[in-house]
Each structure stands twice: as C-alpha cells, then as structure tokens.
C-alpha cells in the first residue's frame, strides 16, 4: 500500500468523523468529589436523553464534550456511591467549575468496593506486579512507546541509536526474548516484523500495561520475565486523534487514530496509522571518558587521526503503518465482529555494525507486512455469565537486505578505505537477500462467571510460523536456505475470585506450552520434533484500608525457543534443533498507597522481586567459511538470579502539578556454579553481571495552568530526567583495576512546553530531548543522539 493510499484513507475517515459535528455545542468541565472534597475516580457521568457520557478520571475530573446548548440532567453513578442526578445549563462554548458531591453508599459502609475503579486502577491494585501507564499525559509529546515505557519502574530499554534503531527491552533484569510484547492481547509478532515499540507513536495507545515477572494466563504467550501490552484506541464511539511533529535530524512523525460507530446500525470503523521518518544524522563524538574515539585515515592512509565529531550519514529510517477495521457491534449474534487489515512498511539504513567502530555506508533493509485479521466478541454466549472473544490473523512478512556495494570499510569522514569489485560491503560476495515469513495466529478466550466475584478464564492460542529466504544475486545457492515450520500451542486457565467484600483478590493459573516442529536438515533429511511443558502461578492482593494494600505473586514460567533460534534464518543464524525452553521462577512482593487529601494526591508503590532464570538461550558468534562473514547459533546456558527492589512516589496538586520519581535496583548474578559439563567452579559464579545497568531512575515533573491565556486553554511545562548509574563493562573483580573502564553515570534532561486550546482539542508542544547535550550510551560503543528539538501539533476529540 502506498503512502498516498494510507493518507487517502486517513483523510476520508477524518472527514467522515468530523463531518457530523456541525452543531451548536459546548463543553462541560468539572469534578466529582466526596464530602471531604476528595476527587472520586471512575464515576460514570451521563447526560440524560443524550448519548453523551464520560467517566471521571484522576482527581475526579471530567469533561463532557459536544453537549448541545440547553438544560440537561446529568446522571452520576458509581459503585460505592449513591447515584445522583445533577442539573446543568449549557449556554456557552465552555462551562467550567462544575463540582458535584457524591455521598458514600450505605451498602459500602464498612466495605471496600473496587468495581468503580478504572481499568488501569483495577490492574494496579491486582495481585500482579504491574505498571499501568495512562498515555493521555504523554499524548502531546513526541515520544514513542519505548520512550514512555523507559520512564517506568523496573523497565530499562537500551537503544542502539536514533529513531527506529534496534533496542533491547528489560524488565527487572530479564531482557531480550525473555519479554513478550502484545497489542490488545495479541502477540506483536503476529503483526509482522515492522511493528515495533520503537516506532509506534504514543497517540495510538490508550494505556500500556507492564507485567513484571508474573503474566496473567489470558496473555497466552511464553514470557519468561514479563510482558508488555498496549491497549490501543479502538471501539470508541466517535473519536479522532491526529498529530504531526517535526524536529531535529529531519524527523517527521505523524499519527492518526480514529473511531466511528454508527449507533443505529452498529456499523463500526477503526483506523490507526502512523508515518515516521528520520535522517538520524546526529553528531557522533569522541569521548575519552568512555574510551570512544572517532578515527579517520591520515592523508597517506597509513595511520589514524582522531576527530572530535562527525555526523552520521547512512542511518535514515522510514516506517509507516495503516490498520483499518470494519465491522458491526451490538448484534444478537455478536457484541462485536470486525474484519481488518494491517499493512506496515519499513526502510532502514544501517550505519554501524556491532559497535560504532564499524561504519557502514550502503547496506539497507526493507520490509513490509500485510496482515488480514478478524475478531469477535460475544457476552452471554448460550448462557448467562459465559463470554467469548476470538481473534485470528495471517501475517505475511517480507524483507530484503541489500549488500551490493563494492566500497567498504567506511570511516566517520564518510570515505571508504577499500574497493573490491566482487565483494559486498559486509560479506565477501554481493547479496540481495530476501526473507519471507509466514505467521498465522488464532486465539480464543472463554470467560465464565461461576458466581459473583468468581471468574474462570480459558485461553488458547495457536501460532504457526515458517520462513524462507533466498539470495536474488545467487538464487541457486541453497546451501543454508531453510524452510522449517514451528507450531506453538499455548493454553492458559485461570480462576479469579474476590473475597471479603472485594478486599482480597486472588488469581490462580496454569499454562500449557507445546510446540511441534518439522526440521529439514542440511542433508535434506526431515525429522519432527515435539515437546510440551506446564507452567503455573498465583497472584494475590489485599486492601488493608481503601487507600493502602499489599500484593504478592509467583509464576513458574517458560519461554519456548523461537523459529530462528531452533532452525536458523538461512543467513547469519545457524539453527540448533536441540534447544530446550528457558524457565524461571519469578516472585514479587509489593505494596501500594494512593489517597487524595483535598486537592493533593499522594501515591506510593514499592516492591521487591526475585527471579531464578535457568537454561538461558544465548547466541554465540562464529565464522562462515564461504561468505567470510560471521554467523551465530543459539545454545542453552545456565541463567541468572536477579534480586531487586523498586519504588515510585507520585504527587499531584489538582490539575496544577504532577510529580513522579522512581528508582529501580537490580542485582543480577550468574546462577550457574559449574562450567557446563565440568566440575569446575565458575569464577563469575555469584558475581553481578557486567554490561547492564543495575541502578536507574526517573523524575517527571509537570506544572500546568488552565485558562491562563484564555478560556479553555492550558499551558503546561514538563521536565523529565533519566538517571543511570555507572556500571562495569566487564566483570568488576576480574583484571587489573587500572586496565578497566566503566560506562559513566548519565543524567539526561528533557523538557517540553505544551499549549492547548479548546480543552485539549488543539495542542502544540515544543520539546527538547537530552537538553544538556550529554554524550549518551545505552550500550558501550553505540552512541545515542544528543540534543534534539521537536515541534508537535495534535488535534484530539473523543466522544464517549
């Protein structure tokens, strides 16, 4: 699909939504409070005889939009509070200062009723160790999902460069493939390789959930160390969110998220899309503190000169995605049924190899995916209390890696050292390598409410994956071409109940992991593999008082080896069919506190955790005799133990000030006592793993004022700082101290100023990242961008 077509669809949808709003309407802005003036979150506010409704948010604040001029009766309801009807008159574009006091329900006296909370709040107070990030506070920033998540406790994302660069994602010290990613509960790989947390703009998401260590069974994924789920904007009645930003390094980012539901026919249309482009031509710098030097050839070519800085020159990145869903809702046979298609396309130039000492000038990677899907939802299926949701898709993922330049060994002055007519830039022969991956996924979830507050959930996911590759320049060389299929069956069964008037919430779950694979070996012999494993877990939370609770969770988790780990990718990864799954015992213990004192809200979450991860799957490098390039194979290794703690403190003063500070500590140590297959004690046994941050934190401060520059306006300033403590590149205790170096401590400052009018409908943000222009690294010898400035425009309207 071309960009033009994506844009066309976007514009058509925008027009269709916007077109229905030409009437005289106003907005009502107010707050729901208790008798002690504490804001009440999660109260439904509905205008009688209208379809206009909303739910109060943090601090009890709410906005009713598109309210026709005239007198209205507003109905307020929420569990734990007496229902109330309140009269309002709308005779101007903006009606502010509406404060409605709700009385606690008699029924709730002496009890705590949690069902009036928002979905995010319910998750936070569940037994799981979960971060819930409501993305609306970041909606005006230029951030992508990763940058939002990187502010969260226990999460560390290590990027290799600018927009679109590779990254590793860690939760509580477990990283890489140990973490699973979902979009609306569907594994992200089901959407093709182009969909990634480093290119999805924040405006596509409504909420992000980070499950640390223990993952609910309804995410039927084999996550060893945790999972991240993005809840996207969809199935809203009428909503549109369009944004565009431009900034440093010729970075353009556009995001569109729009929904339309026709109330009478139930016709429903959802569209999400984005476009990203960046030249990523940021300045690289020599940094003796980190032992990083930018070297170029001397004039005679026989030696090196060190230069202070150089601009990246082959790191452009472009990606776009469009996701269109059409269906019906509120039918007798379905609460919702939609069919959709997702297309994404990525172009990525490669600037460096494994370190910035290897400069690349020509190799690039193009990929695209086309993913049709269907989803279905039905409550009261056959009987009261039984509901079904189902999802299926077919992903065809194509990518091409082009290595055809005979100019090779670039230096930072953009000049190549050598020319070999028959060689590629990376390999000794030229290649245009085509990959074609096929990922089919089917998922069904049955929920059955056995009785009030007792819920049984069954989830089944089938995933089938295979892959082909060939070299366009040498199509008859199939020496390492493979096309093996891996089928995974994942079943999750959980039983959730709430006791003591919902103060005590428990979840017990079990997971089945099965995989079958057909292996075509190098000698063309075919064999079949099959294995299965069982995991299990429990989570529990208890509210001591309404504002304060404790929680604990445990899971014995597995991660199955992936297709490429098992069977290779035909090029740089040679398979190892003997791999066995990784497994881990994950423990969490935490507490949470959240209370309003008048207009002041104080929140604290704190926890400790322990991970005992075994049978790690790691890659080891090797050399290919024919191509002269390197390749890797995956093997099982001993694993690690991680113990740690994290704390987050939040404070808010009404709508004026928000402040968050968090700190995460992880002590990840080598858990394998003996060198594998020997009686030799490892020298690293019990030592902290090198080359990964072990103490890091964030502070996030925002101050904003409504109506400062006119009615309906808001001016907000945000200052955000990231801190990573110094850490060792290699084992601390080994080697002479004077020969070692450390990655220095980093304090990265970011700031943003946002001006909104018409109650957030139109927004403009000026944002600067890495304001003090520090030389920043997430990985040794891979410098990240310095100071960058972006300007973002956003239009947002949401009618519930």
């Amino acid at each position: 699909m071309s960009i033009a077509r994506v844009a066309g669809i976007t514009v058509a949808l925008c027009l269709s939504v916007v077109g229905g709003w030409a009437q005289q309407v106003g907005e009502v802005k107010g707050r729901v409070v208790s008798k002690d003036d504490s804001g009440i979150e999660g109260i439904t506010i509905r205008i009688r005889q209208q379809t206009i409704a909303t739910v109060s948010g943090e601090g009890g604040w709410f906005v009713l939009q598109q309210v026709p001029y005239g007198n209205h009766q507003v109905e307020l309801s929420g569990v734990g509070y007496e229902a109330l009807t309140h009269a309002i008159a709308v005779d101007r574009p903006l009606q502010t200062g509406v404060t409605i006091v709700l009385a606690a329900s008699n029924r709730s006296l002496g009890t705590v009723d949690v069902s009036g909370r928002t979905a995010g709040e319910q998750l936070r107070q569940s037994g799981y160790n979960v971060n819930v990030i409501e993305t609306r506070q970041y909606a005006n920033t230029n951030a992508d999902i990763n940058q939002i998540l990187n502010r969260s406790t226990g999460v560390k994302i290590r990027e290799q460069g600018g927009l679109g660069s590779n990254y590793t994602f860690a939760i509580n010290g477990l990283s890489g493939n140990h973490i699973k990613f979902f979009i609306d509960g569907i594994p992200i790989e089901a959407y093709g390789s182009g969909m990634s947390f480093n290119n999805i703009p924040v405006n596509i998401a409504e909420r992000i959930e980070v499950y640390k260590g223990v993952v609910p069974a309804h995410f039927a994924g084999d996550a060893l160390g945790g999972a991240v789920n993005i809840v996207t904007n969809r199935d809203r009645r009428r909503a549109i969110d369009v944004s565009y930003s431009y900034g440093s390094f010729n970075t353009h980012r556009t995001a569109v998220s729009t929904n339309y539901t026709e109330p009478e026919t139930g016709l429903q249309v959802n569209f999400n899309g984005y476009f990203n482009h960046s030249d990523n031509d940021y300045l690289m710098r020599t940094n003796p503190k980190a032992n990083e030097y930018l070297r170029v050839l001397t004039e005679d070519g026989g030696g090196f000169d060190t230069i202070a800085s150089a601009r990246r020159f082959h790191d452009a990145y472009r990606s776009y995605m469009g996701q269109l869903e059409v269906g019906v809702s509120n039918k007798k046979w379905a609460d919702l049924m939609v069919v959709g298609v997702t297309y994404n396309n990525v172009y990525n130039e490669q600037q460096t190899g494994a370190t910035q000492e290897r400069v690349i000038g020509h190799v690039n990677n193009r990929s695209n995916s086309l993913v049709p899907n269907i989803r279905y939802r039905k409550a009261r299926l056959f009987t009261e209390g039984l509901s079904l949701s189902a999802f299926a898709n077919l992903a065809n993922d194509k990518s091409v890696v082009t290595d055809t330049s005979s100019y090779r060994v670039y230096r930072w002055d953009q000049r190549p050292d050598a020319y070999f007519a028959e060689a590629g830039e990376l390999a000794t022969t030229k290649s245009i390598q085509h990959y074609s991956g096929y990922n089919n996924l089917a998922q069904a979830a049955l929920n059955y409410e056995l009785a009030s507050d007792h819920l049984l959930m069954l989830n089944y996911t089938f995933n089938s994956h295979y892959r082909k590759s060939y070299n366009e320049i040498d199509p008859y060389n199939h020496s390492r071409d493979q096309s093996n299929r891996l089928n995974k069956h994942l079943v999750g069964l959980s039983y959730n109940h709430q006791l003591l008037a919902n103060r005590w919430t428990n979840s017990l779950f079990g997971k089945y992991y099965g995989f079958t694979g057909k292996v075509v070996a190098r000698d063309s012999s075919v064999s079949n593999q099959a294995a299965h494993y069982f995991g299990y877990g429990v989570s529990s939370s208890f509210l001591i008082i309404p504002a304060w609770g404790v929680k604990a969770s445990y899971e014995h988790a597995y991660r199955l080896p992936g297709l490429i780990e098992l069977y290779g990718n035909g090029i740089e990864v040679v398979g190892n069919p003997g791999l066995t799954p990784e497994n881990s015992d994950n423990y969490n213990l935490g507490t949470f506190y959240n209370r309003w004192f008048g207009r002041h809200r104080v929140g604290v979450t704190a926890g400790v955790f322990y991970r005992d991860a075994k049978n790690y799957i790691h890659s080891t490098p090797a050399l290919d005799n024919n191509s002269g390039g390197t390749f890797t194979s995956y093997y099982n290794f001993g694993g690690i133990k991680v113990e740690g703690a994290e704390v987050e403190v939040q404070y808010a003063l009404g709508n004026l000030i928000r402040f968050t500070a968090n700190l995460s500590y992880e002590n990840a140590v080598d858990r394998e006592k003996f060198v594998r297959g020997t009686n030799r004690v490892k020298v690293s046994y019990g030592s902290r793993l090198p080359d990964q941050p072990w103490l890091y934190g964030n502070t996030d401060f925002a101050i904003g004022k409504d109506d400062l520059l006119g009615q309906g306006t808001r001016l907000e300033f945000n200052w955000f700082m990231q801190f990573v403590n110094e850490y060792a590149y290699t084992w601390s205790k080994l080697a002479a101290p004077n020969t070692k170096y450390y990655i220095p401590a980093q304090w990265i400052q970011n700031a943003a100023l946002t001006y909104s009018i018409q109650h957030g409908r139109y927004n403009v943000t000026l944002e600067s990242r890495n304001l003090t222009d520090q030389i920043a690294y997430d990985n040794s010898k891979l410098q990240k961008p310095g100071r960058a400035v972006f300007l973002k425009f956003r239009y947002n309207l949401n009618i519930k």
């Binding site: 070519g301 026989g302 370190t355 000492e357 030799r680 090198p690 205790k733 080994l734």
Partner: protein, 408 residues
C-alpha cells in the same frame, strides 16, 4: 557444502597452535640454528571466563594458582577475534575485523599495552585464515578460504604489499582457497584447494604451487593429490606444518572443525627437500592408525615428532555442533612422521577439545581441559622420559581451554 565454523569464543583454542606454528616455523625457517637457551622464560596465558577473556602473567607454570581476579587485562575488546591473533615474543598482533585495523600490542608488567594500530582493509575478508613470518619483521597473512594476501612490516607498521596470488591454474568458475603458505628459500610454497563456484563444492583434492619471493610472481602449479584435503589449516592458528631435515611436512585438516570432510583421513603430506611438490610416495595416514578418527594439529615437538589431538568415536560423542568443543572425546597423540607411527597416547581421560601448548627445553606444557577435574591444570610432558607431571591450577577457566604463550 557450507562448512560450519568454530565460534569466536572457541577460536582461542587455536591460538596456542598459532604460537606453536610461529615458534616452529621460525625455528625451522632458520634451519639448523641452535635453539637459544633461556634461563628465565616468561609465560602468559589467556583465560576465558564465559563473559570476557583475560590476558594474565604466569609466575610459575608448575605450581600455584593462576587467576584473573584483579590481574591482567581484559582483552575482549582488544583482541576481538581470537583467531586473528599472531604472537611473536612479547608482541601480539591482531586484525580487528570490526574496526578494520591491524594492532600491535605488547605484554609487559603483567598487562597488555597498545603499541600502535593502523588501518587495515586490504583484504576482502578480515577473518584471517593463515599467517607466516617471512623474516623477523615481515608478516604475510590472508583470509580464510581465499586467494588474497597482505604483507605487513610490523617494525614500521606499514602494509607493504597486498592483492591476490597469481591465478595460474585456476579453472573458469573456480576460486582458489589457500591453506598453507610456507617459505622455502627464495620461494613460497602454497598449499591450496579449488572451489567450484557453480556447484558450490570444494574438491576433495590438495594442490601445491610455488612462486618467487619477494616478487610473488612466476606461480607454477606443482602437484595435485586426492589422498586427503585440505592441505594445511583452514584457520589461522592451527599447527599444520614443520620442516625437518629439509623436508616439509604438512598436516591435512579434513575434520569437521576444519574442512568438514569426514570421509577423508587426517595425515601428513611431505614436500621433499629441494622440491616444491607433494611426494607421491609419502602419506602418513594418522586416521588409519586410529580406527578412522580424525585429528587436529597441536605442536611440533622436534625430531620429527608432533603432538596432535584426536577426536575419538565422534559418531557417538557428537550430537550437536558444540560437542566438537566440549564433549569429552579427545586424546593427545605423539606421532612420528619418520616412522609413521603413533608413538604415545598421553595418559589422560577423554578430554574436552584442548590444544593449548608451549614447548620449552624439550618439554611441552599443555593446558588440559579435563571436564572431570576441579580446574584446568597445566601439565608438563617430557618426551625424553615419557613423564607427565601436573603443574599450576588455572582458576576460573570456562570450557574454552586457556591458551599459553611463551614470551621470550
């Protein structure tokens, strides 16, 4: 067929062989000079720990404990590809394929110091397959499975010459893969194989050629032999040739860790004194004496004897690729190229792949990778008395055997 390669970690196993090859090629290239007697030899060792490799001083090969805790230099980011290391005395040379540089480093005061690094992009692949000292200052080296070469003057740190060997004798749609480059007087002897680019097959044949040095001209193909292949080592660091009484012996490496030709035997070819071709009447078939087992070269012990390591019963012991390194199936053999016999199997249990050895005063010191022992130990083997003695303990070594270096 593609040939799987050894992992980067495991390449360090070849370094000892590199040392040995260097040591003995130097000895034998200066034919019949009396070995220098060193009263106080210095040794060093590289120990891999599973995450980082450490270049350490060795105070005593035969007693005490050698440990990387608080000592030595982490060379993981300096000697980035262990197979690309060349040692000569205290100086360590390394081609960094990632940064495209050739570095000269010196081990002194217990740490590795950088002397000079120069750009090095003269070869299409910077993964080195072989090297040879032409004289004290000139190092010639080339990529694995390639016809390219480069000559570096390590005193001036200048690349003096580079390019491809003359293509005489290469049929159309074929490429030459050089495995051995051996100075013989004013000539260079090449041992190579031919690769069919259309069928993607490397022939089961060994070839030799000779060319003038230093002009690198006048290349003449001298012999073709199908008794074993490849003639020499596939990777930089294998011990693969020595010259004794003017005759040059070249070990073949058909083992899967070499050229992956399990149907061919490991053995020594001979190039007789005054000639530049394989002697058709000589082939020391080591595999035939070991029930078909294949071997890797470890070290030359002198007087026609060489130390090899032999993979025992690989059909049973090798279940996946890593087993070539870590399965306990290896035996040390002392072989005599004159009598064409295995004269000794060193009295160890079956070992992990362990080819680290240095020779000093007629004794060989081996870092022995015995999975059943509580550590890697250095063992001394005296071929005169046939006595094995256990020496220093190497603390913290992972599955990849530590590599010993003799610095003077």
């Amino acid at each position: 067929m593609n040939i799987p390669a050894i992992s980067g970690k495991r390449v360090q196993l070849w370094l000892g062989a590199a040392l040995m090859a260097t040591t003995f090629s130097a000895c034998n290239n200066n034919d019949n000079t009396a070995p220098e007697v060193i009263d106080d030899p210095e040794f060093a060792i590289i120990v891999g720990t599973g995450n980082g490799r450490f270049f350490l001083p060795v105070e005593d090969l035969m007693s005490g404990t050698i440990s990387p805790v608080g000592k030595g230099t982490d060379v993981s980011t300096i000697l980035t590809w262990e197979e690309n290391v060349v040692q000569k005395g205290r100086d360590i040379y390394h081609v960094d394929p990632n940064a495209a540089k050739f570095g000269k480093y010196r081990f002194e005061d217990g740490v590795l110091k950088t002397i000079q690094e120069i750009p090095f992009s003269h070869l299409p692949s910077l993964y080195i397959g072989w090297h040879t000292w032409i004289d004290d200052d000139q190092l010639i080296l080339g990529p694995r499975s390639s016809n390219y070469y480069a000559i570096v003057n390590v005193k001036t740190m200048v690349v003096t010459k580079s390019g491809e060997f003359d293509k005489t004798g290469i049929p159309a749609n074929h490429t030459r893969r050089v495995f051995s480059v051996i100075p013989k007087g004013t000539k260079l002897l090449l041992g190579y194989g031919l690769y069919n680019e259309e069928t993607k097959v490397h022939y089961d044949k060994s070839y030799t050629a000779v060319l003038d040095f230093p002009s690198l001209t006048n290349l003449q193909v001298t012999s073709e032999d199908e008794r074993s292949a490849p003639i020499g080592a596939l990777r930089n660091g294998y011990f693969a040739n020595f010259t004794e009484e003017g005759n040059t012996y070249i070990l073949t490496h058909p083992i899967p860790l070499g050229a992956n030709k399990p149907h061919l035997p490991t053995g020594f070819f001979r190039v007789n004194d005054g000639t530049y071709k394989i002697d058709p009447d000589y082939f020391f078939n080591v595999s035939a004496l070991r029930d078909g087992d294949q071997q890797l070269g470890v070290a030359y012990l002198g007087n026609g004897k060489a130390l090899l390591i032999s993979a025992h019963d690989t059909e049973t012991n090798v279940k996946e690729w890593n087993d070539w390194w870590y399965a306990a199936m290896w035996q040390y053999l002392v072989v005599d190229v004159k009598t064409q016999k295995v004269v000794r199997t060193l009295d160890f249990p079956l070992l992990g792949n362990s080819r680290s050895a240095v020779v000093h005063n007629g004794k060989v010191y081996i870092a022995v990778n015995d999975p059943g022992a509580d550590a890697v130990y250095i063992w001394e083997y005296d071929s005169n008395t046939d006595k094995l003695t256990r020496g220093a303990k190497v603390d913290g070594a992972d599955n990849d055997t530590p590599m010993l270096y003799k610095l003077n």
